[in-house]
Amino acid sequence: MLRFIVQRLFAAAITIWIATIAVTLLIHLVPGDPVRIMYAGFQTTEAEIEAIRARLGLDQPVWRQYFMYLGRVLQGDLGHSIVGNQPVLDTLLQRFPATLALTVSALVIAVVVGGSLGFFAAYKRGTAWDFGAMTLAIVGVSMPHFWLGLLLLFLFSMTLGWLPVGGSGWRNLILPALTLGLATGAVIARLTRSAMIDIFDQDFVRTAHAKGLPKTLVLYRHALRSGLVPVVSMLGLQFAYLMGGAIVIENVFAWNGVGRLAIQAVFARDYPLIQGFILFFATVVALVSVVIDVTYALLDPRIRYGT
């Protein structure tokens, strides 16, 4: 087990390392002089532009810039934002709890709603119920988060007046979590359905029925438990998907998390903040994936033997 955890942590470290290279190169991929773009609108002299370039290390060869950046990152220093001159890591950590609350709530909604819908569709396989549930799931998968968010906003805030439009606080969390959760739930519904259909055809389910066990006991204790194993394995991927979705959804509902910070940083051309966000995002996704992989391995020993 320890070997498995070390392997997974090593894989995560490689992901994060690749992210550090990507963020160093990012600034050089932008058309135009990055310092002039960052400081557009400020009254900066040529000497100041050069000083900023030197401060950001942009006057150095790219390889040296990379090692300078890596050195700072290893000391927990992601630099200072251009706008407001705040430490990037502090700013990200300040906003992260809001994003975590959103993604975790959305994940719970996704698993409960998606799992139930998939299970129901599999149980009613081949009927109009199955067709209806899967049509709903396809709509959910296909619909952009942004659009779904606006529809829910129109329904629950503007028409029914049940929920606030945007801002902070637990009531404000409901709509963004629902938007993100329903979209992800649609993916989980499709996964659950196919997993459950496989399980329903397995010998152990047929045996359970043959033994005369009550139908609900067979469905929930025997079939559902086994059917959810592949779904759980996908949660790591879904979490990354949710974090990506949060960037858009936080903006729609004015939820003050790191996703919204990222959009603001892009519009403000705040490269240190954009770089910090990408690295932070990659680190969170990589670490959550490790946790989910390890949990999964604990639940299903075959996984770690297979690695």
Binding site: A40, F42, Q43, T91, L153, M158, V165, N256
Partner: protein
């Protein structure tokens, strides 16, 4: 600031405002007003940001020595009066008595000195060059302060009415986290909190007195609190407005006709914003190193028709290189040197240069994102194609465009055709022309010693009539040489949608929203 007739006939807000009074509906004192905006402030420190969104919040916390009246002319405000030395190099300001900073300390000459010293200190203001060539600030007594300049500076007094010159109380030096957690001024509201990216909460300053802002209320504001909330998504902002979660917000551009058609919300369009949009060109290489190519583009495009299609009545044709309401702007004067839509003349100019059917002038037009400007660019593209100019369009954010334009001017290692761009700036004074064109200016563009000398004169002259003449000389030069060709104003959409219970909201000249007269009706 008033509602435009083309938007609603007659001015709906004015009618509604008077309707409340006539019907005797109570306008209650107090209450919290929520103002939803697309973005947050960058800093509470007026020396550490340049965005309009930041300035509009500073206006509520701080005050300025002078203030713009409705026509954009700088008038006495915290400075009750001033005297200028004969050589024009020293200004002595007499300050208002009895003004208090938000922490209860008396406002005076030390606060003015603190602000200016700070703007030129170790970590200088991002807009310090706009203060002018200041060499020293001397406190004469508690309410008298003298500012000395190295050379005369015509834009000095107007700058003192702008938010970048907001007076920061000296007590901020001891306050922890100035610019992020604290901000002490003498403005109509005190800072309660700023949650970055989310909201700025301000509360009524009971000691506030207005001296020069063009509002009716000379005392403290009627509201209890002003909450400035960031809601980036336009449709969410509109939803917040409709559900009552916000009282004032910038509506999505495409929803304006619906808002006008309905009775639910009122619209206020900012006038005299100081902003305008213009053509400028890469003059360092062909084709725009030839004046005829620049003139051909100007003659081939019809901004009047394009802005009517895209913006309805919310933007106006602007002939001058500086915006309407700015000192020196005179449509009649500028139109004499302008380029009316004349495709035949454009074709003639192109033919003189050797272009014609089968040999179009190839170039690229840069446009910055947002505000439906891509449609505007496509209209211009079609008009240009009609005369034989094949212009591809590149749309980018304004910061990238600023950098690309400069880079294009500075490049010498290419034979690719030069580009032209739809550029925009907003400023309260013709001094913007100095920043844009002196020595090649902000974009390392057109440069001539003659123009430089003319621009220097516009800075040095302080006599109004003489300065006007100098500014108009520059305008004539820029236009006849087709260097800076005005298109339309304001260019950025400063339209505010208001819930019907909001009364008395005004946007002063150069985009200063004012809440002094605002009441929430029951």
């Amino acid at each position: 600031m008033k509602l435009r007739k083309t938007l609603t006939l007659p001015s709906r807000a004015a009618l509604l405002g008077s309707a409340f009074v006539m019907a005797g509906l109570p306008a209650i004192a107090g209450g919290d007003l929520i103002w939803a905006r697309y973005g947050d402030i960058d800093s509470l420190d007026p020396h550490r940001a340049t965005s309009t969104l930041s300035m509009q919040v500073w206006d509520q916390i701080y005050d300025t020595l002078l203030a713009f009246d409705e026509d954009g002319v700088a008038r006495p405000n915290l400075a009750a009066s001033w005297e200028v030395s004969e050589d024009g190099l020293s200004y002595t300001f007499s300050l208002q008595e009895g003004v208090l900073c938000h922490d209860g300390s008396a406002f005076g000459a030390e606060d003015v000195k603190f602000t200016i010293d700070r703007a030129f200190g170790d970590n200088p203001s991002l807009t310090r060059t706009s203060w002018g060539p200041i060499t020293g600030v001397e406190v004469v007594d508690d309410l008298t302060v003298t500012v000395t300049l190295e050379s005369t500076f015509g834009a000095f007094l107007p700058f003192l009415a702008d938010s970048f010159s907001s007076i920061v109380c000296a007590s901020n030096a001891e306050a922890e986290g100035f610019g992020t957690r604290s901000a002490i001024g003498t403005g109509p509201f005190k800072l309660v909190s700023w949650v970055q990216g989310d909201e700025v909460v301000l509360e009524r300053n009971g000691d506030y007195r207005n001296f020069g802002k063009p509002v009716e209320n000379a005392g403290p504001v009627h509201l209890d609190r002003l909450i400035v909330r960031t809601i980036p998504e336009p449709q969410t902002r509109l939803a917040a407005l409709r559900t009552g979660e916000a009282h004032i917000a910038e509506p999505p551009f495409d929803d304006i006709p619906d808002i006008l058609a309905g009775d639910e919300l009122n619209l206020v369009v900012a006038e005299n914003t100081g902003q305008n949009v213009f053509w400028q060109y890469t003059v360092s290489r062909a084709p725009f190193d030839d004046i005829r190519a620049r003139q051909a583009v100007a003659h081939a495009t019809d901004p009047e028709m394009a802005i009517e299609i895209v913006y309805g009545g919310t933007n106006q044709r602007e002939w001058c290189p500086i915006a309407a309401g700015v000192f020196g702007n005179d449509q009649e004067f500028c139109a004499q040197y302008g380029y009316p839509y004349d495709p035949d003349r454009a074709r003639e100019l192109l033919a003189e240069m050797g272009y014609g059917p089968g040999n179009p002038l190839e170039t690229t037009m840069y446009v910055w994102t947002g505000g439906n400007r891509h449609i505007l660019a496509e209209i211009f593209q079609a008009q240009l194609a009609d005369v034989g100019i094949r212009a591809s369009i590149e749309i980018m954010d304004i910061g990238t465009m600023n950098a690309r334009v400069r880079e294009d001017n500075e490049r010498t290692d290419t034979t690719a055709p030069g580009t032209f761009n739809m550029m925009t700036w907003g400023w309260y004074d013709p001094d913007i022309l100095f920043a844009l064109w002196h020595g090649g200016g902000a974009y390392a563009g057109y440069q001539s010693d003659e123009l430089d000398a003319m621009l220097e004169l516009t800075r040095e002259l302080t006599d109004e009539a003489a300065r006007l003449e100098a500014v108009q000389d520059v305008i004539r030069y820029l236009m006849t040489n087709a260097i800076h060709v005005g298109l339309y104003t304001p260019g950025w959409e400063w339209i505010f949608a208001l819930r019907p219970e909001v009364e008395g909201f005004k946007v002063g000249a150069f985009l200063h929203p004012m809440f002094q007269d605002v009441r929430l009706t029951d």
